[in-house]
Each structure stands twice: as structure tokens, then as C-alpha cells.
């Protein structure tokens, strides 16, 4: 098990770097991260299932200016590892799926706080860089940037460790203790979760013309799904 946590820390560090500090190739998106976390903990498919729902949750919060959106990368590490763990113990039923997704909000908000802390520490690094340049040391810019990157990576690795540990603990400890009837009860909330994600996309893309396109497509696909189910 230890190698899995080591691997998730390394992968998490890379994904967290992609989130803010480097490249932004979308390797930090929940669909990617939850699938990776799921694969590391033994079930890529379970990770991808929760990742596909998490992917859209937080799109409505844009990383504009100094605002920091909830940490959906951390939420995906938690949810991916928890989903993989649950699938190998009690099975990823609708109730466990719902519980994992809802609990991931705690990771998203904790990660946001950590991100704010890292950026504050970066402020100190930036001040040191300016002071060093004032003294004639131009190389301080390169050293300072490296320090900033390292800070983002170390913070990402630590968060990934914590969130994957929490995910495994939830999947092995908490969810098996909730009986089947309890999980069935929680599953009542499941239909709302993809709709939160869809609303997030709708909210981002909303213009005069797009509202009609959104609801028309929703109606068509809804009808087609019912038709194919009926035909089958």
C-alpha cells in the first residue's frame, strides 16, 4: 500500500503544478486526476466515474484575478481513491457514489485554504527576490521561481497524500459501517449531483442564444435515452 501513496504523491505534485504554476495543460482536471487516483488504488473505471461528475462541479467559479476557486484537483484525489477503495470492498453502489462525491467538497475547501497559504508564502519569496535584485543579484529571479515551483509541488504532494489517505479511510472505515439501507437513503440525492455540474456549464456558457440550445439538447437527449431504453 505504501508505494501507492508514494505514487499518488508524485502524480499529485505534477497535477497540482499544472493547476496553477506550470503549463495549465488541464492535467489537473478532476476527470484526469480521479482516473489516475482510481488506477493507482486499483480501479481506474471507478475513479473515472466520480471524475466525470466532479469535472463539471466547480466550472462556474473562474480563477480570475486573485480569486481562488475550490480545489477540484484535491476533491478528485479524494474521490478517485475513495471510489477505487469502495469498489474493492462493499462495491460502488449509488449510495457510496453519492457519499464520496458529497464528502469531496471538504477536500475542495481544504485545498483552497492550502492554495491561499502557498500564495502568501510566495509573496515572501517575491519580496526576497526584489531585495536580492536591488543588491545586484539577477539570478535571484531564477532561484525564486524555482522556490515558488517547489512550494507548489510540495504542497500538491502533501495534499495528495492527505486526501488519498482520507479517501482510503472513508472507503475502508466509514462507508462499510453505513448499512445498505443508509446508503440507499443517501442515494436519493444522486440525481441532483450531475445537474449541479450541468448548471455549472450552463452558467458559464449562458448567453441569449445558448439557453435555448442547452434546454433543447437536454430535452432531445432525455427523449432519446427514454426511447432507447423503451426499445431495448
Amino acid at each position: 500500500m505504501a508505494w501507492r501513496f508514494l505514487l499518488v504523491a508524485v502524480v499529485g505534485a505534477g497535477c497540482y503544478l499544472d493547476r496553477t504554476a506550470a503549463c495549465q495543460f488541464m492535467l489537473h482536471r478532476p476527470l484526469v486526476v480521479a482516473s489516475l487516483a482510481g488506477a493507482i488504488f486499483g480501479n481506474l473505471s471507478a475513479g473515472a466515474q466520480v471524475g466525470a461528475v466532479l469535472e463539471l462541479f466547480y466550472l462556474a467559479r473562474l480563477p480570475v484575478g486573485a480569486s481562488i476557486p475550490p480545489d477540484d484537483t484535491g476533491a478528485a484525489v479524494f474521490a478517485g481513491s475513495a471510489a477505487a477503495g469502495v469498489s474493492s470492498s462493499i462495491g460502488l453502489d449509488a449510495g457510496s457514489f453519492t457519499a464520496v462525491l458529497l464528502l469531496s467538497v471538504l477536500a475542495a475547501e481544504t485545498g483552497k485554504l492550502a492554495d491561499r497559504f502557498v500564495r502568501k508564502v510566495n509573496g515572501r519569496i517575491a519580496r526576497l527576490i526584489v531585495e536580492s535584485v536591488d543588491r545586484g543579484d539577477v539570478q535571484a529571479v531564477e532561484h525564486g521561481l524555482l522556490a515558488g515551483l517547489t512550494l507548489f509541488a510540495v504542497s500538491g504532494a502533501a495534499l495528495s497524500l492527505v486526501f488519498s489517505g482520507a479517501g482510503v479511510a472513508v472507503s475502508k472505515g466509514l462507508l462499510p459501517h453505513v448499512g445498505p439501507s443508509g446508503r440507499t437513503g443517501i442515494a436519493v440525492l444522486l440525481p441532483l449531483l450531475p445537474l449541479v455540474g450541468a448548471a455549472s456549464v450552463y452558467s458559464c456558457s449562458r448567453m441569449e442564444k445558448t439557453s435555448a440550445a442547452f434546454y433543447l439538447t437536454m430535452a432531445l437527449v432525455f427523449g432519446a435515452t427514454l426511447f432507447f431504453a423503451w426499445a431495448a
Partner: protein
């Protein structure tokens, strides 16, 4: 006063370093360290053998800077050209800061709307939909759809900037990012609608099997309600937290 020619190797270094524009993002100077880091190879070449002027140039680049990271490439390229002029004694150093401040706000607004408000939702919705068929198909769709536009725009921005600040401004008009934003928002809306339709349909099939129209209206109303809440600055986390507490109450019942 002469400046060394801007070598292809140096151009390549600056291009690669722009991917680390937010490497030391902080609340005071925001992307200032990343910008200074990216442009440093060019400054070293332009002011070779003139350490005092190199220092002044680096200090200029350490001033507050913040824009959308991908579109920052156009400012970076144009700033390289401005610094080249300054090093040759053909330009005013104050023009560098004025240009950056003048461009970063408007490019930030255009870029945020395009990348975060249109391209990313479109790629995410496509990825989430295709992941229902196969996880790897979803991941591939998300990464390819986003990065095809992202990398192309970054490269074009950098090239346009490298042709000088005047060309950078005219290129931005020609690029018509506002039109591209609308196209991608439309694609995102269609894909988002399909995503909602698939899940609503699945739940309807798994549920009663009857009263489909009523169920559809309920799902559509729920989407609309959540969207209205987002518009009123309610965070998705707050909605999920309410659902989490509801789940806890169901368990305690």
C-alpha cells in the same frame, strides 16, 4: 549603444519559460516573478556586458503584472521587442511598463472569458460525456479539445508579440477572440445540455418509468435553480455542503 541580435535559441528559451508565468504567483506582484523569469534570457542577451542596465531592466519586469496566462504570451513577445529597442537606445524604458499595464487588463478579461468561460467548459463537458463510454476517451477528448486551441493561441500570440507591440495589437483585433468565445460557449451549452439529458434520462429510466414529462421539467427546473444560484455568487461548494448535511440528516433519521 548596440544590443546583441535576438537569437533563435533565446526566442525558444523565452517561449518555453512562458509556461511558468505563474510559477511564483503571489498576492502582491501576482505574475511579476514569472514574467521576469520568462524574459530574463532576452534581457541577458540585449544587455550583455552591461550589468547595471540588466539590473534596471530586470527591476522593470518585476513590477506588478497579471493577465490570463495563455494570452500573456502576446505581452511577453511584444515586451521582448520593446526591451530590444530600449537596449539599442531607440526606445523609452517607461514605454515598457506603460505597454504592459495597458495590455494586461484587457487581455485578462478577453482571455478569462475565452479560456475559463468557454473553452474549458466545452472541453470538460465533452470529456465528461465521452467518459461515460470509456474513461480514456473522455480524458483524451478533454485534453485534445482544450490543448489544440490553447497551444495554437499561445504560439500565435507569441509570434504576433515578437513582431512588435504595434503588430500585437492589430493581431488581437484580427484574431476576433470574442467571436471564438461565443462559438465555444454555444458548443459548451450543447454539450452541457446533452450531459444533463443523459443523466436525467438515466434516472428517469431507473426510476418510475412513468411521468417522463414531469420528471424532465423537474430536472430542467433544478438545473435552472442551480444556475440562478451560481449567478447570485453562491459557490458550488455551498450547494454541495447543503446536500452533504442533508445526506447526514438522512443517515441520522
Amino acid at each position: 549603444m548596440t544590443a546583441a541580435a535576438h537569437s533563435p535559441a533565446c526566442k525558444g528559451k523565452v517561449w518555453l519559460r512562458q509556461f511558468l508565468l505563474q510559477g511564483c504567483w503571489n498576492y502582491e506582484g501576482m505574475q511579476n516573478v514569472g514574467f521576469a523569469y520568462a524574459i530574463l534570457p532576452a534581457l541577458r542577451e540585449f544587455y550583455a556586458g552591461r550589468p547595471e542596465e540588466t539590473l534596471k531592466a530586470v527591476k522593470r519586469q518585476l513590477e506588478f503584472f497579471n493577465t490570463q496566462p495563455a494570452l500573456g504570451a502576446v505581452i511577453l513577445g511584444a515586451t521582448v521587442r520593446l526591451e530590444e529597442r530600449v537596449a539599442r537606445g531607440e526606445g523609452d524604458p517607461r514605454a515598457v511598463g506603460t505597454f504592459k499595464v495597458g495590455m494586461m487588463g484587457s487581455l485578462g478579461a478577453i482571455g478569462d472569458s475565452f479560456f475559463w468561460g468557454a473553452l474549458r467548459p466545452m472541453a470538460s463537458a465533452a470529456g465528461a460525456l465521452l467518459a461515460l463510454l470509456h474513461p480514456l476517451a473522455g480524458i483524451a477528448a478533454l485534453l485534445l479539445l482544450y490543448n489544440a486551441s490553447h497551444l495554437r493561441i499561445r504560439l500565435r500570440c507569441y509570434k504576433a508579440g515578437m513582431e512588435g507591440p504595434e503588430r500585437a495589437v492589430s493581431w488581437l483585433k484580427e484574431a476576433a477572440l470574442n467571436v471564438k468565445t461565443e462559438d465555444r460557449k454555444m458548443a459548451a451549452a450543447i454539450l452541457g445540455g446533452a450531459y444533463a439529458g443523459v443523466f436525467a434520462g438515466r434516472f428517469a429510466v431507473a426510476g418510475t418509468g412513468g411521468g417522463s414529462l414531469l420528471l424532465f421539467l423537474l430536472f430542467a427546473a433544478a438545473v435552472h435553480l442551480f444556475a440562478v444560484l451560481f449567478r447570485k455568487a453562491v459557490s458550488p461548494s455551498e450547494i454541495l455542503a447543503v446536500l452533504l448535511i442533508t445526506g447526514g440528516l438522512i443517515l441520522c433519521r
